[in-house]
């Protein structure tokens, strides 16, 4: 057995842990045990809704047996955290909502099934904004998640981003080797950015949506949240698949993304979209962005200015399309079949009203109302159908930009992590968090956030790269170039572990 204490075990990257297991330097059980203990100690972060320590250790045992038998999967024995939006057979799945209550799915999502098929171990289900609606993980019925990071000389709790805030906190706090997230308007990239980690939203259709509690079906996409770009490549290779159970999944071979990281970026054309320079953005964001361009240029990339003229319509478009789809997707939570049912209703209408009124939180209700409104007779043409037209214009912007470049470089967020409660009273302020990320979802493209530096007050900031559809290979290679140049080695102080 190797000379490794539990801190160095949980501090490994996914790739390092994989190699250690393959070399039989560590067992899955040891590794998993270290994470189970770390998760217990980190309860003040509230990163997990459901811890699955026992199940994790049993899975690790089974994995060790396979390792001994020489039948190893790509992620054999590697402990992961799963966003509580992925249905997991036999393990409670809540979407962080009261209305799903103690829903225990009798089926497994395709993405998680792919991970288990590759030998991975499930540590538990991570917290999130209710139904993935939020940018701070504060709308969860199970309470907010705290960012492992704190500003210099401050004990104030900060948000971990959202909606995949439990996953981002778990990765940042070394509570798992990697986590799954879902990204509808930035829900993987923004939390990764504000916790100093890597978050990849693949091309729409790259990963199956089967078994993921739906928020906005035409935008939702699962992806990995990891410590490194290489880890993201390894995770994506196992998560992605075409799926007969999801008509919108795409039948394209899944390449060896890890291999595609090799070869450098000489000659790569990196587009800088001028419309992403927004008024009132902190100077440090702009400065980091320029630095990112310089890093890539220094490694042989060509920097080109491009235009995405409809960018300013992206947020309004998103906040019509996503709530519209959500209003229908969430109609099934009605107190009739599963989940929360209000007591004392006198008739079916009251049952609906009370169950949904008590079961959904304020933000979810707000979005259902917006969505219902924009689809209503007399408003549909003014809102929903115009949003669809704008969506195709936004998509076309990217197509035209990609005639001149191979990837785009932008900031991920307009600023670093903010304080818990700082933006909850102003939804519009909160929605602005997604200003750089929603366009990617509207266009169905892959996007990745890479930690690139610290803000003035010592908090992580990320840079976003956007790729062509199904060209995650090039995207990851460019992301790795940023990662290498940024050489971001910071970690939060473990204040939660007493």
């Amino acid at each position: 057995m190797p000379d490794m204490n539990s801190t160095s075990l949980i501090g490994m990257t996914l790739a390092e842990a994989r190699d250690a297991i393959r070399a039989k330097k560590i067992s899955s059980k040891e590794l998993t045990g270290a994470f189970v203990a770390a998760i217990e100690k980190a309860r003040p972060l509230n990163a997990f809704i459901t811890e699955a320590g026992e199940k994790a250790l049993a899975m690790a045992d089974a994995s060790d047996k396979r390792i001994a038998a020489g039948t190893m999967g790509a992620l054999e024995g590697l402990p992961l955290a799963i966003k509580d939006l992925f249905c997991t057979k036999g393990t409670r799945t809540t979407a962080a909502s009261k209305i799903l209550g103690n829903f225990v799915p009798p089926y497994e999502s395709t993405v998680t099934q792919n991970l288990w098929n590759a030998g991975a171990v499930m540590l538990g289900k991570t917290n999130l904004d209710e139904f993935a609606m939020g940018s701070s993980n504060e709308t969860s019925h199970f309470g907010p998640v705290f960012n492992p990071w704190r500003a210099n000389n401050s004990n104030a709790n900060l948000v971990p981003g959202g909606s995949s805030g439990g996953s981002s906190a778990a990765v940042a706090a070394d509570l798992c080797l990697a986590a799954t997230g879902t990204d509808t308007g930035g829900s993987i990239r923004q939390p990764a950015a504000v916790t100093g980690r890597v978050g990849l939203k693949p091309t729409y259709g790259r990963c199956s949506r089967f078994g993921i509690v739906a928020f906005a079906s035409s935008l939702d996409q699962a992806g990995p949240m990891t410590k490194t770009v290489k880890d993201a490549a390894i995770m994506l290779a196992s998560m992605a698949s075409v799926d007969a159970k999801d008509s919108t999944s795409v039948d394209l071979p899944v390449p060896d993304y890890e291999k595609l990281l090799e070869g450098g970026i000489k000659g790569l054309r990196v587009g800088i979209p001028m419309e992403y320079r927004i008024d009132g953005a902190p100077a440090e964001i702009d400065a980091l962005w320029s630095k990112g361009a310089d890093w890539l240029k220094a490694q042989g990339a060509e920097i080109v200015e491009v235009s995405l003229p409809h960018t300013k319509y992206a947020l309004p478009t998103y906040y019509i399309v996503a709530p519209a789809e959500a209003s229908a997707n969430l109609a099934r939570y009605d107190g009739v079949k599963f989940g929360y049912r209000a007591q004392g209703a006198r008739d079916i209408i009251e049952l609906y009203e009370k169950s949904r009124g008590e079961g959904f939180g304020a933000e979810v209700q707000r979005r259902i109302l917006i969505g219902t409104y924009v689809l209503s007779a007399g408003y549909y043409d003014a809102y929903y159908s115009r949003a669809q037209k704008l969506r195709s214009l936004i998509k076309r912007d990217f197509e035209q930009a990609f005639e001149k470049c191979d990837v785009l470089l932008t900031p991920t967020t307009p600023g670093p992590a903010f304080g818990v409660g700082a933006k909850t009273s102003d939804p519009l302020e909160m929605y602005l968090q997604d200003v750089f990320t929603v366009t990617v979802n509207l266009a169905g493209l892959p996007g990745i956030s890479v930690p690139a530096g610290l803000s003035e007050n010592g908090l992580p900031l990320g840079l976003q790269l956007i790729g062509k559809a199904f060209d995650e290979g090039t995207l990851l290679r460019a992301a790795q170039a940023v990662e290498t140049a940024a050489n971001f080695k910071h970690s939060p102080a473990k204040w939660w572990s007493v």
Binding site: F86, C87, T93, A95, L100, F103, P105, P106, Y107, S109, R209, F210, G211, I212, V213, A214, A216, S217, S218, A244, K245, D246, S247, T248, A324, E325, S327, A328, L330, A331, R332, D334, V336, K337, F338, I348, Y352, T372, L375, S376, A377, Y380, Y384
Partner: protein
């Protein structure tokens, strides 16, 4: 034909009125599994035994289109001589109902799979009219609420949830309750020929919503000329009428109700009504203002449905001969329009007829089927599928009549025997000595016996030649009905020196 034909008018206090009728028919697609899930569609199973997680609207479940259902819709479209849309879109129709687990029905709104077509209907007076089809689209059925299982709870059965339906919408081209019933009957025949719907109205496989309006004489003609609905009256929709008889009754009642309202100085409000078959009335369900706002939008879980023209063409090649074509062919074989339309109304009946008529006179076969077989089926409460004597056996009987092996009278007795006892008709004829006697020796002997036994009648016959019929009857009796009546007639005439009839 005149659009204001007298038989299509309803008399009111203030003059004549025209009725205008359009229909929306929900036809359950014949397929083993549901429109978007693999669950079984079999009728009559234990409640909630045929429900997948998709049908129950579980979190994270996604619909996946069943290709068989698409093929059935296209096949039906082709059978309705309709335009097949190579690109169609599934939409979500949003409303809350306990038996609608997703909170929305997946349907097709602006871009249905099938566009305009037409159905020809035959009326009793021999008139044929064409009813335009507006569209056909695919959608999911809902489940069923059960209110009679528990004193203070309602239960939901989701077996039906997600089963594929074709909604077939006509243009307002029907003018009488008879036409409305005839349309549904014809549509049912077509889908049954095509094998795309079993047409079983008792089990709810076919349900109709009937739109009825009334207008002054000439309004309909104006509408057909200009396409402007302003020439027609305000329509009311009668929901879920589930038999041909009720459709006719509901249309009659509703038209008279509307005329009364208008003639009393009132106006018709556009609304949805329900037909109560127990009292024979339609009753208001909800007004236009109370109508749901379904907030249709394209279902993001499903890609637009794109069909290959070659695939549609290949389906077209497998279409069976449909009632209209079959009727034309039967008429060319010498059947009357009436006989032909009776025979083609059910595919099984037409198939039976074709088997029956092989190598024999078409008219004789049709008569035999109409008079003998259908009569007996009707008497015994059986359908053509349950006929106890095969078409081939009946064909043998007709052949025996044609070649004078048996008489028409004996043939009926023979059918009765094999109907109840079974057996091969030819063997029964042999075994029971039912063959017609054409042997003049045997007939002459019978004649001599009758003459010898009835000397008085022979004397009478000389004065009253009409008594010859009595002699024929006696001879037939003597031969047990087996004598060829024409041969008996001829022999009697010769023997008794009777004059040729007038």
């Amino acid at each position: 034909m005149s659009t204001a034909a007298k038989n299509k008018l309803l008399k009111g206090e203030t003059g004549d009125w025209e009725i205008v009728i359009g229909m929306e028919v929900h036809a359950q697609v014949l397929s083993n599994s549901k429109l978007f899930s693999g669950a079984s569609t079999e009728f009559g199973a234990e409640p909630n035994s045929q429900v997948s997680f998709i049908d129950a609207g579980f979190p994270g479940m996604l619909p996946v289109i069943n290709e068989k259902c698409v093929e059935q819709a296209v096949r039906t479209g082709l059978g309705l001589k309709a335009k097949i849309n190579l690109r169609s879109i599934f939409d979500r129709k949003n409303y809350f109902f306990p038996d609608l687990p997703q909170g929305y029905q997946i349907s097709q709104y602006k871009d249905p799979i099938v566009g305009e077509g037409e159905v020809t209907i035959d009326l009793k007076d021999g008139e044929s009219i064409k009813v335009g089809i507006e569209r056909l689209h695919l959608e999911q059925d809902a489940g069923k609420s059960l209110h009679d299982q528990h004193p203070d709870s309602s239960f939901v059965d989701l077996n039906r949830s997600g089963i594929a339906l074709m909604e077939i919408v006509t243009k307002p081209h029907m003018r009488t309750s008879e036409e409305a019933a005839a349309f549904l009957k014809k549509l049912r025949a077509i889908v049954r020929y095509l094998g795309t719907c079993d047409g079983n109205m008792d089990e709810g496989s076919m349900r109709a919503d009937v739109n009825v309006s009334v207008c002054r004489v000439g309004g309909y003609e104006e509408f057909r000329k200009t396409g402007s609905f302003k020439s027609l009256g305000t329509r009311c929709e009668i929901k879920n009428v589930n038999s041909m008889r009720f459709i006719a009754q509901a249309v009659e009642y509703e038209a008279r109700r509307q005329i009364e309202v208008i003639e009393a100085g009132g106006t018709i409000a556009q609304e949805t009504r329900r037909y109560d078959s127990k009292v024979g009335e339609t009753r208001s369900m909800r007004s236009k203002e109370e109508a749901h706002d379904y907030r249709y939008f394209p279902d993001p879980d499903l890609l637009p449905l794109e069909l290959e023209a070659d695939w549609v063409e290949a389906i077209k090649k497998t279409l069976p001969e449909l009632p209209d074509e079959k009727k034309a062919r039967f008429m060319a074989q010498g059947l009357s329009a009436y006989d032909a339309s009776v025979l083609v109304a059910e595919r099984e009946l037409a198939d039976f007829y074709e088997e029956l008529a092989k190598g024999v006179d078409a008219k004789a076969a049709a008569n035999w089927l109409n008079n003998e077989i259908l009569g007996r089926l009707n008497r015994d409460g059986l359908s053509i599928a349950q006929v106890p004597v095969s078409a081939a056996a009946n064909n043998a009987i007709i052949r025996m009549i044609a070649d004078n092996t048996i008489s028409g009278k004996i043939a009926k007795d023979l059918l009765d025997i094999v109907w109840t006892e079974g057996g091969d008709p030819r063997q029964v004829v042999e075994a029971r000595g039912m063959k017609q006697v054409t042997d003049t020796g045997a007939i002459d002997a019978a004649i001599e016996a009758v003459i010898a036994a009835n000397p008085a009648k022979v004397e009478e016959l000389k004065a009253k030649p009409k008594l010859a019929a009595w002699f024929v009857g006696q001879v037939m009796k003597q031969t047990g009905g087996k004598a060829n009546p024409a041969a008996v007639n001829a022999a009697l005439k010769a023997r008794l020196n009777l004059p040729d009839e007038g």
